[in-house]
């Protein structure tokens, strides 16, 4: 689960990670009051959406920049008004962009140098890792590729926690002066505590900055949490912003369906995450484009299949449907009945190819045949994928 920058920074402050003073506003009526809480300009005005690349983004009405530096508060007010309710397109949002519904005003900082700092899971060791770099404010992937020697990592032993020597190691490698180093050490420790205590999946500060008076501040904050751990963090669940999520994905989560919207034309309904991913792949392999990832899970009921059908048909781009089920334990006939019922309920104007295999498959195929539905059967995944691609083309 992702949260906004302003929410992440509020949590940072709670855990002792210093950030520039900032105030978020969710309505133009609150802009002036928010700005009044900040000391004198300059002010940075930041669009709050769950996507990176905001600064270089463009709004759909042509206004450039989702993050703006304002020399006066009047200028800040003007920028905020232009951003609010406007749709921001960045390299991470896709062409549809995201509507800005919160604007965050922060006190502009005097930057001496920019750094990078993050905490996440190191999959190779199955332990938390802290990643830091002297190259901040740029894409870390680019730094890792071009100048890997400028990236420093410490892997934390979860049985002991972050050790002092590890913090010192990072501080020395980043080349801070004595006063900065003291502040940076405290910040790194607080950031790690935040990461660990809140079950974060990733905490990224880019840039982390030093100021002329040797303060160390988190100028940006990107935080995501491990969805599996949310049951023990109701305070974090409360930060979820449904405006940032695809309505179809929200609807799917109500039925415990794993659904991700994509931009193709062939909707997929599959059981199992691995099979669902490879169904998308095989569609692409034969020249089509998947409209979604959808895993109905191992214990799919008739109701789940009906709900899944409604969700995939809610995507206006969909021109055909591919149902790919390997019923291991799951009864293929249950899926077949679900398909028949769903089609009865929502109608079917699009080509539908069904590939059923596994447990009770004969009964499932008989149910589909007896229904009189205009569907096409596929024998194998490859056969079915080729058929749906042809029907949609």
């Amino acid at each position: 689960m992702n949260i906004h920058e302003y929410q992440a920074k509020a949590l940072f402050e709670k855990f002792g990670v210093p950030v520039p003073k900032g105030v978020a506003a969710k309505s133009p009526a609150d802009f002036e009051a928010a700005l009044a809480q900040l000391p004198d300009a300059p002010v940075v005005v930041k669009s709050q959406i769950h996507a990176g690349g905001r600064g270089k983004g463009t709004f759909t009405d042509g206004f450039k920049g989702g993050v703006k530096f304002a020399k006066t508060k009047a200028e800040a007010l003007d920028y905020a008004t232009k951003m609010f309710n406007n749709t921001l397109v960045t390299i991470q949002t896709g062409p549809a962009g995201r509507k800005v519904q919160t604007v965050y005003f922060t006190q502009a900082s005097d930057i001496k140098k920019e750094y990078y700092l993050a905490s996440l899971l190191d999959r190779a060791t199955s332990r938390p890792v802290i990643v830091a770099s002297t190259e901040g404010g740029v894409e870390i992937e680019k730094v890792a590729h071009d100048t890997p020697e400028k990236i420093f990592k410490v892997v934390v032993d979860p049985a002991y926690g972050l050790a002092d020597f590890q913090v010192r190691e990072l501080v020395f490698k980043l080349g801070f002066n004595a006063a900065e180093g003291k502040n940076a050490a405290k910040l790194i420790r607080s950031l790690y505590t935040f990461f660990w205590e809140t079950d974060a999946a990733m905490v990224e500060v880019n840039p982390l900055i030093t100021t002329p008076d040797d303060q160390v501040l988190a100028l940006d904050a990107k935080v995501s949490f491990d969805s599996n751990s949310l049951f023990r963090h109701p305070e974090i669940v409360a930060l979820r912003d449904l405006n940032e999520e695809d309505p179809k994905e929200i609807e799917a989560s109500k039925y415990d369906l794993a659904y991700i919207a994509l931009d193709g034309h062939i909707a997929c309904l599959v059981n199992g995450a691995g099979l669902a991913m490879s169904t998308m792949d095989i569609i692409k392999h034969y020249g089509g484009n998947p409209a979604n990832f959808l895993d109905v899970g191992g214990g799919a009921s008739k109701e789940k299949v009906v709900a899944a059908f409604k969700i995939i048909l809610g995507d206006a781009n969909v021109k055909g449907i591919f149902v790919n089920i390997f019923g291991g334990i799951m009864d293929c006939n249950v899926i077949a009945e679900g398909i028949v019922e769903a089609v009865k309920e929502v109608g079917l104007k699009l080509p539908l190819v069904v590939r059923l295999e596994g447990n009770n498959v004969a009964a499932g195929k008989a149910t589909l045949a007896a229904s009189g539905l205009a569907l096409v059967s596929g024998d194998t995944m490859a056969d079915a994928a080729q058929k749906i691609v042809k029907l949609v083309a």
Partner: protein, 307 residues
């Protein structure tokens, strides 16, 4: 032979009185698996009955192991308690814990894995379909079925299958069985980013098992476990290996159902992994429908007969 388990292996089931655990306990009993104990704290002394068999239930894993000689546990405990259930198996000194549970907090698994350092117990999973060593009776009955895989699609034979994904494992096994090719053992290692046994661990076991003549390695986007396994295969494994990687079309940064299936950097994309497979002499299945055929191609190249 086989790896990890044989038809004689005695297993216990933690969470046998839950709906999910109970259903799969029944299916394993039907398959002929030696399910000798159940564990549900507070229900010790009761029995799990199915098909004329009475399986005793214990309060703790240690009691169950001592009383029945079970050396392996299958865990169907809900996510908030599953990490603890794994540690209980470690404490009881079991050989193997297979954790089926999906949705365990990553932090819990980080701590469990750290606590298991140097322990005798091997963990498979979590968030996995389990392990099957097929038997010789009809529908491969008489084998050892741990977890949630459909037993009937298997056939006793000489191909080892290892995968993160349940349904893709079934797909591969079904393709093999349909062509008359049997399996030594099929292992689902699970889709979580922090898990016990890795692809490489299983590949090493298959490589050492004289009864496994060829291997299907199924992976997906995220992490570098498949790459690590492929490099080891290139250096050490003479048996024919076919591979498949799911997720070529997955958008970067999105979690594709499995918590571990997320493209983080350039190295963990499907294309990068497939390139390494090819470089390491693994016959790559072009599509998921091609897995068994890919293995047949690999076997032919090395002059190995599979059926």
């Amino acid at each position: 032979m086989s790896i990890l388990i044989t038809p004689e292996t005695k297993i216990m089931i933690q969470g046998i009185t839950g709906a999910f655990g109970g259903k799969h306990a029944q299916l394993s009993l039907d398959y002929g698996t030696q399910v000798v104990a159940g564990v549900t704290p507070g229900k010790g002394g009761q029995f799990f009955e199915h098909g004329g068999k009475k399986v005793p239930i214990f309060n703790t894993v240690a009691e169950a192991a001592a009383a029945t000689g079970a050396t392996v546990s299958t865990i169907f405990v809900p996510p908030p308690f599953a990490g603890d259930a794994i540690l209980e198996c470690v404490d009881a000194g079991l050989d193997l814990a297979v954790c089926i549970t999906e949705g365990i907090p990553i932090k819990d698994m980080i701590r469990v894995k750290r606590a298991m350092t140097g322990a005798k117990t091997r963990l498979v999973g979590p968030n996995c379909p389990g392990v099957v060593t097929p038997g010789t009776a009809e529908g491969s009955k008489g084998g050892c079925r741990i977890g949630i895989a459909p037993g009937y699609i298997h056939k006793k034979g000489h191909v080892g299958v290892v995968s993160r994904s349940g349904t893709l494992t079934y797909e591969a096994v079904f393709q093999l069985t349909s062509k008359g090719i049997g399996q030594s053992t099929s292992v689902g290692i699970g889709g979580d980013p922090v898990n016990g046994t890795s692809h490489l661990d299983v590949i090493k076991l298959f490589n050492e098992d004289p009864d496994t003549h060829a291997i299907i390695l199924i992976g997906e986007i995220g992490g570098n476990a498949e790459v690590e396994a492929a490099r080891w295969i290139k250096a050490n494994c003479k048996k024919p290996v076919a591979g498949f990687i799911a997720g070529a079309t997955a958008p970067a940064g999105r979690r594709m159902g499995h918590a571990g299936a997320i493209v983080g950097g350039a190295e963990d994309t499907a294309a990068a992994k497939i390139a390494v497979f090819k470089e390491c002499g693994i016959e790559v299945a072009e599509t998921p429908s091609d897995m068994a055929d890919a293995l047949l191609r690999a076997a032919k190249t090395k002059g190995v007969t599979l059926s």
